[in-house]
């Protein structure tokens, strides 16, 4: 009996520790998502949708850029095939996330479904880059990161849909919190690794593609270029044995 109770308390502390770590790691996302979610809710509100729409969209899609574009699908002629194809293009980067998380999401049991469902840019980046102490359960941590981000996003979008037009203070520029976060994650990765080839390729090839193909069309060429060059460099990169 006592053993069971002891185990329960241990579990409880583990949960608490994992939640605390997840909360700290997602603080910048809380700021960014509450704001971006608000913007999204206001945007839908202005376009004539009730707050139920941003709430349902943010809950079910949970992919910012696709949700903004989806508003246009809803306002133009009925064409679900086009909506499907365009969303596929916008979200193609998730394929890379999945390949990177195959191993890390292994053995997460029933939570795995939700971890994959909620794998947005931000959840992926935190779950992929966070280095935790020995005393924190990685699987619990990843689950809390995903659910907290989801919660911030849905709350923001719903509140934006309800009260959006009432916000008075000047929030211009607050969306930069996301850029700053990705810059820090990139920098952390860069400082940690011995071989900078992949980091610099990702940065350089995307920049070249952005200049060459323009804002709307550069992601797919960037991904193909990154995939192609990394495939060509497989031998030297594997030989280098760059394990962080």
């Amino acid at each position: 009996m006592r053993k069971v109770r002891q185990k329960n308390t241990e579990n409880h502390t583990m949960y608490k520790k994992a939640f605390k770590a997840a909360f700290t790691h997602t603080l910048p996302i809380m700021a960014g998502f509450c704001f971006l979610g608000l913007t999204y809710g206001i945007y839908m509100n202005v376009k004539g949708f009730s707050f139920v729409f941003p709430m349902i969209m943010s809950l079910c899609v949970f992919a910012g850029s696709a949700e903004f574009v989806a508003v246009n699908f809803l306002l133009s002629a009925f064409d679900p095939l086009q909506a499907f194809a365009v969303t596929l293009m916008i979200n193609a980067r998730h394929l890379f996330y999945g390949i990177s998380m195959l191993d890390r999401y292994k053995g997460t049991g029933i939570k795995k479904f939700y971890l994959i469902f909620g794998m947005c840019d931000e959840s992926f980046s935190i779950n992929c880059s966070a280095r935790l102490g020995e005393d924190i359960d990685q699987k619990q941590f990843m689950f809390f990161v995903t659910i907290l981000n989801h919660f911030y996003w849905v709350s923001g979008a719903t509140l934006g849909g309800i009260f959006g037009s009432l916000i008075m203070f000047n929030t211009e520029g607050i969306e930069f919190v996301m850029t700053a976060m990705f810059a820090v994650i990139f920098l952390e990765q860069f400082l940690k690794e011995k071989n900078h080839t992949a980091s610099l390729l990702g940065l350089g090839l995307s920049l070249i593609c952005l200049v060459a193909f323009g804002t709307g069309n550069f992601m797919i060429p960037s991904m193909l270029a990154i995939l192609g060059i990394l495939t060509l460099l497989r031998k030297p990169l594997e030989k280098g044995g760059d394990k962080e």
Binding site: F78, F84, N91, A180, A183, V184, F186, G202, L203
Partner: protein, 109 residues
């Protein structure tokens, strides 16, 4: 605006496409079977490349030739990088960088 069934079908299409991009790798390479070596290699080298790609993705709407010429972005990112190299405190770097950007776009540019 569309009729309700059409709205539901359109939203379902967006959800289905998003979920396809997230679940596909896990469906093709299930946990029970050994993953091909090439995919394991990609899983190891892709993350740093993706982090670089995401930084560019965030900056994709910056106009170098018009508007503020990307100066607020440049200053703020330099602040983030400099502060992070100095203190190595993730939240602090992000917070100061964001406040710096907000002040620049609201008061200077």
């Amino acid at each position: 605006m569309m009729t309700t069934p059409r709205i539901i079908i359109t939203i379902t299409a967006v959800v289905a496409a998003t979920m396809l991009t997230r679940f596909l790798p896990f469906i093709i390479f299930p946990a029970g079977k050994p993953t091909p070596k090439y995919i394991v290699y990609l899983g190891r080298v892709l993350p740093p490349a993706i982090f670089g790609m995401l930084v560019i993705y965030c900056l994709k709407d910056v106009t170098i030739l018009s508007g503020s010429h990307g100066i607020p972005e440049l200053i703020s990112i330099a602040t983030v990088v400099g502060l992070h190299l100095w203190k190595r405190q993730m939240l602090l770097s992000i917070l100061v960088g964001t406040v710096c950007y907000m002040l620049l776009v609201q008061l200077v540019f």
